[in-house]
């Protein structure tokens, strides 16, 4: 007997599954955050170049990764939702957007916090920081577009076009920003590289990344459930869901 996965493509069927998974992911995320912070703040040694300031990276790097990863996922889900007319997929894309924007903003903010002690300034216009800023703008555009459109299906599809155009542009934008940066290398800022990775540092980084990943899943699934309730009102399964 093979499981028919397509059952779960229906929002009504997926809702109970999602609802049940959320607490597991949330707890796992909380545990990993605690472990990761313990390893990163207590066990990992001082970096010989940057002193204690490098510890900001344990939140900065995972946040940056999540910001980029969630954007790509958002575009994929939106594309699938558009191509296959799959509502749930589009709802997933919309749910990913805000968390992704949050992580991108966090990566910019913590990046500044890392930059001030290491580079000496709060902000520097290098290729990565500028590209991350542009990524934030892309997120904001997506969220704004969807919130401006009342009809949910039009919002889904318009968002899909925007997300796909955005995701295709991201490499081009990154390349052009890098180009711009190398040409305009004015005052040489000593870009202090990430510290040479000692085992506890790497472990902490990975654990924090996993924690952020699980956190994202928990929050995005919760948003998805909200979206399902909002959009699938008036459908029979509601009453069953409420007895949970």
């Amino acid at each position: 007997m093979s499981l028919n996965w397509y059952r779960y493509a229906s929002p009504g069927k997926f809702y109970p599954v999602a609802s049940k998974m959320i607490p597991w992911f949330a707890t796992a995320a909380a545990i990993l955050f605690i472990i990761g912070l313990y390893v990163g703040l207590f066990l990992a040694p001082r970096d010989f170049q940057q002193g204690e300031a490098y510890r900001v990276l344990f939140i900065h790097v995972p946040a940056a990764w999540m910001g980029m990863l969630l954007y790509i996922l958002m575009a994929i889900y939106a594309g699938i939702g558009w191509a296959f007319n799959a509502r749930l997929s589009s709802m997933m894309a919309s749910s990913l957007s805000i968390t992704g924007a949050m992580f991108t903003f966090l990566s910019l903010a913590t990046g500044s916090m890392w930059g001030k002690p290491t580079w000496g300034t709060w902000w520097v216009w290098d290729a990565r920081t500028t590209s991350t800023l542009i990524l934030l703008f892309l997120y904001i555009g997506f969220v704004s577009l969807q919130s401006a459109i009342d009809d949910p299906r039009r919002a889904d599809r318009a968002g899909a076009v925007l997300a796909l155009v955005g995701v295709i542009n991201v490499p081009i934008i990154y390349f052009s920003v890098q180009w711009w940066n190398t040409l305009h290398q004015g005052a040489t800022i000593r870009i202090v590289d990430k510290p040479t990775i000692a085992a506890p540092m790497l472990a902490a980084m990975l654990i924090m990344l996993a924690a952020c990943w699980l956190y994202s899943i928990a929050v995005v699934l919760t948003r998805l459930c909200c979206a399902i309730i909002e959009r699938e009102r008036g459908v029979g399964w509601r009453e069953e869901a409420l007895t949970r």
Binding site: A53, A63, V219, R238
Partner: protein, 50 residues
């Protein structure tokens, strides 16, 4: 374990702890917002179906 040294982080305390506080605020804020939304929606559904 030298606690004062831990908190000051060699003078970088503001940056290190500031970043983690910022992250905590952002993530907790998001969780609160989303949990509250879900509660509100479920409540609306219940009221509606009564």
């Amino acid at each position: 374990m030298n606690w004062s040294k831990f908190f000051s982080m060699d003078g970088y305390g503001f940056y290190v702890w500031g970043s983690y506080v910022l992250a905590l605020v952002a993530m907790c804020g998001e969780v609160l917002q989303v949990v509250r939304r879900k509660k509100t929606l479920k409540r609306q559904l219940q009221n509606f179906s009564k």
